[in-house]
């Protein structure tokens, strides 16, 4: 039982980590990074580390995603339409 839970969470984490690098839309990439942190905090609970799990959930899934999203707004990457446009080039 424990093994299957760990396997599912680890597979979800790795798939989301690869998705961060592969996805074109930057908003989706930041969301995938938050999914990695969330799966990691579940894994920490399974590994009997509740303090670390709470810190990772608050910081990784909460604050880190917020900081990246605010930074995206200032970098001109906050675009929901036309994801195939070249991201982040103001002079293009």
């Amino acid at each position: 039982m424990f093994f299957w839970m760990v396997l599912v969470v680890v597979v979800l984490m790795l798939v989301a980590a690869v998705a961060v690098l592969v996805l074109d839309n930057m908003i989706a990439a930041v969301a995938a990074a938050s999914v990695v942190s969330l799966a990691l905090s579940v894994l920490f609970v399974l590994l009997r580390a509740p303090d670390v799990a709470m810190t990772e959930a608050a910081v990784g899934a909460g604050l880190s995603g917020l900081i990246l999203a605010l930074g995206m707004r200032r970098l001109g990457l906050w675009r929901l339409d036309n994801p195939s446009a070249r991201q982040g080039d103001r002079d293009a």
């Binding site: 680890v10 984490m13 690098l21 990074a33 930074g71 200032r74 991201q87 103001r90």
Partner: protein, 157 residues
């Protein structure tokens, strides 16, 4: 069963580290480099917590259980607490620098930023850099065809 759990967890932690490291080197966009840094830090923290895990142990908190129940090692968890918070500080600083670069050069593509930065330096100081990223030592002219590369030009003639 124990060996399989161990393998899955190690593959997960090292896979995160490898994906983060590969992303850091391979990505062209500065923002994606920061995301790869986030993933690599998550992998490193998981590796630290894995070092303290103990089979059939409980969390290191006294909750009224009998005194001889084995507990996981609390020292790596304290280190990871520190590491996670420092990681978010580093991410904030990297993002602030990326905002500054974007404001100065107008693009987030790494090679484009580097090209414009070198052009700015060359324009300001008047010094042209001889090499580029693909030819760090500058252009080296090939020897003329038919010449023996083992001899000096005088002997080969």
């Amino acid at each position: 069963m124990g060996a399989q759990i161990e393998l899955v967890l190690y593959v997960g932690a090292l896979g995160l580290l490898a994906v983060g490291a590969a992303g850091l080197v391979m990505s062209a966009n500065l923002f994606r480099m920061i995301l790869a840094l986030v993933i690599a830090e998550a992998g490193a923290n998981l590796l630290l917590v894995l070092a303290g895990y103990r089979w059939d142990a409980v969390a290191p908190i006294l909750a009224g259980q009998p005194a001889d129940v084995p507990m996981v090692d609390p020292v790596p968890q304290a280190m990871v607490l520190t590491a996670i918070v420092i990681g978010v500080g580093v991410q904030a600083l990297a993002l602030a620098m990326a905002v500054r670069i974007y404001r100065a050069y107008g693009t987030l593509d790494f090679s484009e930023v580097r090209r414009r930065m070198e052009a700015d330096i060359a324009a300001e100081t008047g010094i042209e850099l001889p090499g580029s990223r693909d030819e760090p030592a500058g252009a080296r002219p090939l020897p003329p065809p038919g010449a023996n590369p083992m001899l000096t030009p005088e002997e080969g003639r």
